[in-house]
C-alpha cells in the first residue's frame, strides 16, 4: 500500500508505483512473472487527465508486454479489479496478475470531487435534482434511525472505533483519536461535528484521500513460489440493485450486499459466523452498521447494539475495520476495494502489527459501489 492521505508529493502514477512496488517486493516477483495488470481508478481521467492508466502503469513499472486493463466501477472499482483478476487466473488465461487501485483526489476543490462522485447517481431522477452521495446517505440514515432505532450516538461510536484502529495502521490517512464528548455528547459537538446533510454530520462520513493499494493474485499451485503464507480468495460475489435509491422496495435493505455476500459465502462454503475479521465499506458510518447486517453478521436492525457492546471493536468477537475503515484509513475511491483485500491478507498472515486480530483464519470484505447499486463481497481464507 502507499501511505494514504493528502499526497502533494506524488501524482497518481507515483502513488500507483509506490503501492505496486511494495506488493511486487512482498511477493518477490520478477517482471517476467506478471502476465497482466489491472488498475482500478474511478476518476483518473477527470482528475488526473489520464485514462490509459493501466497501460501507463505497465510501462512505468517496466512490466511490458503484460496485458493491462483499467477497471471502473465507482467505489467498487477495486473489488471489480480483484474479481476480474481472480477470474482471469481461475480460467487459466493468465497465471499471475498485479492488481493496483489508486486515486488522486485532494488536489481539486471538494465540491468538484463531490460533483464527480454524484455522477454515480441516477442522472435524471437524482443528479438533476441536486442530490449528492451525502444527501442519499442522509436520507438512508434517517430511514434507518426511524425504522431500527439507530441513534447518532451509534454512528459516533463507529467513527471513534475506526479512528482508534487507524492509530495502529501506519498507512492510514487519519491518525487522530476522537472522543464521544467531542463529537457527540458535549454541546460544542454542534460545531466540532457540524451537519453536512441532516442527520449526517462531518464525522459520520469518510474523508477524501489520495492513495493506492496493490496485491498480486496467482493460482493456488503457483502461490507457494511467491509466498510462505499465501492467502486464498475462497469466495466472491457481486450483485446489482436499482440505480435510483427511491426505486428500491425497502430502501433500508441493501439487497446487493445481501446477495453478493450470500454468493461469496456459498462459493467459499463458509458462513458469516466463521468470519474472524471483516473490512466493510463505511463511506458513511451508517453503512458499516447496515452492511454488517445485510452481509449476514447481525440480525437486521440490531448491529448498532453490537457496536454499543464493543462486539465490533478490535478486541471484540467480530472486529470490523481493524484498518480504520474508509473513515480513518481513508477512501481513495479506486484503491479502497484493493486496500480491504490487502488488510485482510495482512490479518490472515499475522502481519497486521498492533491491530492484529489474533488467530484470524477467515476474513470478509464488502466493496460498495454507487449508493449500494453494485456491490462485491469477498471471503478470504488462510491458505493452508
Amino acid at each position: 500500500m502507499s501511505k494514504f492521505g493528502r499526497r502533494d508529493d506524488k501524482d497518481l502514477m507515483g502513488l500507483l508505483v509506490e503501492a505496486s512496488t511494495a506488493s511486487l517486493a512482498d511477493a518477490n516477483i520478477g517482471g517476467k512473472d506478471i502476465d497482466a495488470i489491472y488498475v482500478s481508478s474511478m476518476l483518473s481521467g477527470e482528475l488526473s487527465h489520464q485514462t490509459a492508466t493501466a497501460s501507463a502503469l505497465a510501462d512505468e513499472l517496466s512490466l511490458l508486454p503484460a496485458a493491462a486493463d483499467r477497471i471502473e466501477n465507482g467505489p467498487a472499482s477495486g473489488g471489480s479489479a480483484v474479481k476480474n483478476a481472480y477470474a482471469a487466473v481461475a480460467s487459466g488465461l493468465f497465471d499471475t496478475v498485479l492488481v493496483t487501485g489508486g486515486e488522486k483526489m485532494r488536489h481539486v476543490a471538494g465540491a468538484t470531487v463531490t460533483d464527480l462522485l454524484a455522477t454515480m447517481t441516477h442522472p435524471t431522477a437524482e443528479y438533476m435534482q441536486g442530490a449528492t452521495l451525502p444527501s442519499l446517505a442522509a436520507m438512508f440514515t434517517r430511514l434507518y434511525m426511524e425504522r431500527y432505532g439507530v441513534e447518532p450516538r451509534h454512528l459516533a461510536l463507529v467513527a471513534i472505533k475506526n479512528h482508534r484502529n487507524a492509530l495502529k495502521n501506519p498507512y492510514a490517512h487519519i491518525h487522530r483519536e476522537i472522543t464521544l464528548e467531542g463529537i457527540y455528547s458535549k454541546p460544542e459537538a454542534e460545531l466540532n461535528n457540524p451537519v453536512v446533510s441532516d442527520p449526517l454530520r462531518l464525522y459520520y462520513s469518510c474523508p477524501i484521500t489520495d492513495g493506492a493499494a496493490s496485491i498480486v493474485i496467482t493460482s493456488a499451485e503457483n502461490a507457494r513460489k511467491f509466498s510462505d503464507a499465501p492467502v486464498a480468495i475462497a469466495g466472491i460475489g457481486q450483485a446489482t440493485d436499482t440505480l435510483a435509491v427511491h426505486q428500491r422496495e425497502d430502501p433500508t435493505v441493501l439487497r446487493a450486499v445481501q446477495i453478493s455476500s450470500q454468493r461469496a459465502f456459498d462459493m467459499a462454503k463458509s458462513k458469516p459466523k466463521e468470519i474472524d475479521v471483516a473490512e466493510l465499506h463505511d463511506a458513511f458510518e451508517i453503512l458499516e452498521i447496515a452492511e454488517s447486517e445485510d452481509a449476514g453478521f447481525f440480525e437486521k436492525g440490531t448491529a448498532h447494539k453490537a457496536v454499543e457492546k464493543g462486539v465490533t471493536a478490535l478486541d471484540g468477537d467480530l472486529p470490523i475495520n481493524p484498518s480504520g475503515g474508509l473513515k480513518a484509513r481513508g477512501h481513495p475511491v479506486g484503491a479502497t476495494g484493493v486496500a480491504q483485500i490487502v488488510e485482510l491478507t495482512w490479518q490472515l498472515r499475522g502481519d497486521a502489527g498492533g491491530r492484529q486480530v489474533s488467530g484470524a483464519e477467515q476474513g470478509y470484505s464488502c466493496n460498495f459501489g454507487g449508493f449500494g447499486n453494485n456491490v462485491l463481497s469477498f471471503v478470504l481464507k488462510r491458505g493452508d
Partner: protein, 222 residues
C-alpha cells in the same frame, strides 16, 4: 505643553470589559481554553503568526499580515480599543481572534487565525469573539468581513449575517456584513459553547503558551 509622543497615541475610549475565560472540548477530546490575551503578550502572538506571512494558500498570508499589523498597532498605541482572544490547548497557542470597538455600540470584527487546523478551532474562536462583543462589551452591531470566501460562506448562513452594501469594512473597503444583537441571540445556541469557570489548574496552564508551527506551514496531510 503637548507631549510629542501623545500626538498620535490612542488608548481606550470605550470602557474595557474583560472576557471571562472558558474551556471547551474539541473533537479530539482536547480541552481548549479561550481567554483574553493581554497587550503584554502581543510580542509572543506576533512570533506565533509570523511564519504565516509566507503561507502558501487560502489567504492565510494576507490574514496573517493584517493581523500582525493590528496586534502590533495595538501594542504601539496606534490602534484603539482592540481585543484579542487566544485559544490554548495543553499550553500551546492553537488560534487567535481579534476585534476592536469602534464606539460603544459598534464592534469591528477583525481576524480569525487557526494555527492548528481540523478541529473547528477557528469556528469556536470566531463565536467567542462575537460573544465577547455582544454580551460583555455591549455592542449592538458587529461589522464582519473576510479575506477568504471559504468558511465565510458558512458563517454567513450560521450567523444570519446581513449584507450592508452601504458600508465599507475598515479592512481596505471590503464588503461588510452585519451581525446584529438580535441575530447573535438567535444563533447563539448553535455557535457559542464552553464552560465557566475554567478549573484553576487548567487556567494556570493556559497562561504561558508555547508557540507551535502552524499546520498550514507543515503541509498537514489532513
Amino acid at each position: 505643553m503637548t507631549e510629542v509622543t501623545d500626538i498620535l497615541s490612542v488608548d481606550w475610549d470605550v470602557p474595557r470589559k474583560p472576557y471571562p475565560a472558558k474551556v471547551l472540548t474539541l473533537a479530539t477530546g482536547e480541552k481548549m481554553v479561550v481567554r483574553e490575551a493581554s497587550r503584554e503578550e502581543v510580542p509572543q502572538l506576533l512570533k506565533a503568526i509570523r511564519p504565516l506571512l509566507d503561507a502558501p494558500s487560502e489567504f492565510y498570508d494576507l490574514v496573517a499580515a493584517r493581523t500582525f499589523a493590528e496586534l502590533l498597532g495595538w501594542y504601539r498605541y496606534r490602534v484603539r480599543n482592540e481585543y484579542c482572544l487566544a485559544g490554548v490547548v495543553d499550553g500551546k497557542l492553537v488560534g487567535l481572534v481579534n476585534n476592536r470597538m469602534f464606539n460603544k455600540d459598534l464592534c469591528i470584527s477583525l481576524h480569525t487565525i487557526a494555527i492548528r487546523r481540523g478541529r473547528s478551532i477557528g469556528a469556536h474562536l470566531f463565536a467567542a469573539k462575537q460573544e465577547h462583543a455582544i454580551e460583555y462589551l455591549g455592542a449592538k452591531e458587529i461589522f464582519v468581513t473576510a479575506e477568504s470566501p471559504r468558511g465565510f460562506d458558512r458563517w454567513m448562513i450560521e450567523w444570519s449575517l446581513e449584507s450592508r452594501p452601504d458600508v465599507q469594512h475598515e479592512l481596505g473597503g471590503a464588503k461588510a456584513w452585519v451581525l446584529t444583537r438580535e441575530n447573535y441571540y438567535k444563533n447563539k445556541h448553535r455557535q457559542v459553547f464552553g464552560d465557566r469557570p475554567v478549573p484553576d489548574d487548567v487556567y494556570k496552564r493556559s497562561l504561558h503558551f508555547e508557540i507551535i508551527e502552524p499546520d498550514i506551514m507543515r503541509g498537514e496531510s489532513d
